[in-house]
Amino acid sequence: MNAPLLRIENLSMRFGGLTAIDDLSLDVHDARITAVIGPNGAGKTTLFNCLTGFYRPSSGRVSLAHPRRGLLQLEELDSHQVASRAQVVRTFQNVRLFPKMTVLENLIVAQHQRLQQASCFTLAGLFGLPAYRRAEAQAIAVAVDRLTRLKLIDRADAVAGDLPYGMQRRVEIARALCVDPILLCLDEPAAGLNPRESAELNALLQSLSGEEGLAILLIEHDMSVVMNVSDHICVLNYGCKIAEGTPEQMRSDAKVIKAYLGEDDEGEQPGEFSGAPSQ
């Protein structure tokens, strides 16, 4: 296997006496979906916050092999630099759209970096110079492309906060895709989706990683998503990695089953995850 896109080495995050992530190491590869699962409070979202600059990890390294900018240490970057320079973009567990702006505006804001440069820090934009107008037209084209792809184009002018929840989740993914990510970190993208919507999400994630070679890091509780789309699963419990491997391996891993279902006190058979077998 080639070198990983993202390499997390011995990452720890402590809040006072609480160790939220304990000496975690994980590789994320191009064109693959890596899922991070674990019970509530296992440290999954904390991991995302460490990767994307919202938290400074207490120790450890997060190295990104950027195709154009070389090796970047994500733990040293600010949160906005992680997105603008390293092109690692995340979504949030509870959707964070710009609720009063329209869907299209949400997607244009995501292209701020490029547009701001094209507008020569507002001057060219102020006078409506052709270079800026071209950049704006291009940004709109990108946004329209993402909206079409996520079947949101009919709602382009809708106020984002007024959309149904499942659609807001899609808008958030569309918006993240507008930043041109090389690594997309999705925090529970299937939460609150109905079965049909989550099947659509599966298809989308597979096409993003399979056809476009995007690396996806996924936190998810919905096993029908995790087991179906993941190439690699990492299981966390109390901040520690307890297992790692393919969906098939995880399904039968004793430690994983124990973490999820607890000790087998009452003589019940350890259950299978509810997800259908992959592919």
């Binding site: 994307t52 600059g53 919202f54 600010d78 949160s79 906005h80 630099q81 992680v82 997105a83 603008s84 320079r85 973009v89 995340r90 979504t91 949030f92 964070r96 759209l97 710009f98 609720p99 009063k100 702006m101 329209t102 299209l104 505006e105 244009i108 804001v109 995501a110 701020h112 970096q113 547009l115 701001q116 507008s119 820090f121 507002t122 934009g125 102020l126 709109i140 329209v144 184009i153 382009a156 002018d157 918006r175 993240a176 930043v179």
Partner: protein
């Protein structure tokens, strides 16, 4: 309780109970405020009672509440029964534009219509100063969502910058305007930098402090600002170098155009000057709103954390909002100093910041036309209310409360999108 009221019309019993509760509160408040009064009897103060007046007051409150409740319920019922408000909403954009253009038309024609009425033109000039200040503050409060209670500080910085540059160094209005604006923008950065991490109430307190600090410095730094005595004889703006004075040795505005001198010329010129400055501000801000920086302002108002996750440098965005808002406030200050000819720290109290903020909030945060309507209300009401003498500010407060009840989001609360896919695809023609 509110929900119940909204769902079915309350019985007479409920209404009476509600009104009685209000009358009780009125009684409690009324005993010390109305029931008891002090009278001066031969140098000694005695407490006298006015029970009949109190009784009238409480009865009025009772009846008033009964009627108000009844009226509000009727209003709510009618609103509920109105069919989907979609069609009404679609019309808002066109209506806003129409009202905006007619406001501009009236503003342009006003000095012509009232060419012999100095009071009207003067008041209109004051309204326009507040419109410009409101548009400036709107950048930081309405668009970027950062509460600023010290806006008068930037107004003061602009005014003092022009006053000092003109009296000490002999600079003209047009030379000083950009420099004073830049100076105020610098102060905006100065305020913005330490408050980057603050939001909401905390930011409001710091900006309030900043406004007061600026005023106190102006009072105490006598060498620079001449302290509480202020700066007098600030040169008035000229008409491209032609001063507005009675005929003299040098050509004046009146002699150049061969018309008879009238002190009104300057008043009208100042009016058009502030109108032009305000319109320039409007153009500038509404253009910025459609640029990346303006969209980023609105985005940080909506969700700062999401902005960071999308690669927006929140620090820069906030600082740019502070700087541009301060610059516009500073330019308004330059005009203020040039118009008054005299400034002192008295003119830049917290009251001034509060009025400008009230204009932005009442107008509907983020709405350009709302600011115009709100400044009309807030500046004209106290003017029109002069006949009511002591009750002037009471009237003012009541108007503010009524606007907030009638339109909790401000007079014009609806946000216009900065771009529309439907319009774009129609222009593009499509395949």
């Amino acid at each position: 309780m509110r929900v119940v009221v909204a769902q079915h019309a309350p019985s007479l019993r409920e209404r009476l109970k509600d009104a009685a509760a209000v009358a009780c509160v009125a009684l409690l408040l009324g005993v010390p405020m109305i029931g008891l009064t002090t009278v001066d009897q031969g140098g000694a103060l005695h407490v006298a009672t006015r029970w009949p007046v109190l009784a009238i007051f409480v009865t009025l409150c009772f009846i008033g509440r009964l009627l108000a409740r009844f009226g509000l319920d009727r209003l709510q019922l009618r609103r509920r029964s109105r069919p989907a408000a979609v069609s009404a909403l679609r019309g808002t954009g066109a209506l806003t534009a129409w009202v905006g253009w007619s406001c501009l038309g009236v503003a342009l024609a006003l000095p012509v219509i009232f060419s012999d009425n100095r009071y009207v033109v003067d008041t209109a000039t004051t309204v326009l100063i507040y419109v410009m200040l409101g548009w400036g503050l709107n950048v930081v409060v309405g668009l970027a969502g950062l509460l600023n209670l010290g806006y008068a500080a930037f107004y003061a910085v602009g005014a003092y910058a022009y006053a000092l540059l003109s009296t000490q160094f002999g600079w003209g209005f047009w030379q000083a305007l950009p420099v004073a604006g830049a100076f105020a923008a610098g102060f905006g950065l100065l305020l913005g930098w330490p408050t980057l991490r603050l939001r909401g109430d905390y930011l409001a307190i710091v900006t309030l402090g900043f406004g007061e600090i600026t005023r106190v410095i102006l009072i105490n730094w006598t060498d620079l600002s001449n302290g509480p005595n202020g700066i007098a004889s600030i040169p008035r703006p000229t008409f491209f170098g032609l001063p507005f004075k009675p005929d003299g040795d040098t050509p004046t505005f009146a002699s150049f155009f061969g018309i008879e001198f009238s002190p009104l010329h300057r008043i009208i010129f100042l009016y058009y000057l502030i109108l032009a400055l305000a319109m320039l501000t409007n153009l500038f801000v509404s253009r910025l709103r459609k640029l990346p920086v303006g969209r980023a302002w609105e985005a940080i108002r909506e969700d700062e954390i999401a902005c960071q996750a999308l690669g927006i440098n929140v620090t820069n965005v906030k600082l740019s909002a502070f700087a541009i808002s301060a610059m516009l406030g500073g330019c308004a200050g330059v005009f203020f100093a040039a118009r008054q000819g005299f400034i002192s720290p008295e003119s830049f109290t917290f009251n001034e910041s509060a009025i400008v903020l009230a204009i932005v909030v009442l107008g509907g945060t983020g709405s350009q036309l709302g600011v115009v309507l709100a400044s009309l209300v807030l500046v004209l009401l106290p003017e029109l209310g002069r006949d009511f003498a002591d009750y002037r500010m009471l009237l003012f407060g009541a108007a503010m409360i009524l606007i907030m009840i009638w339109r909790p989001g401000g007079i014009l609360a609806k946000r216009e999108p900065t771009l529309r896919y439907r319009a774009l695809s129609r222009d593009g023609g499509g395949p």
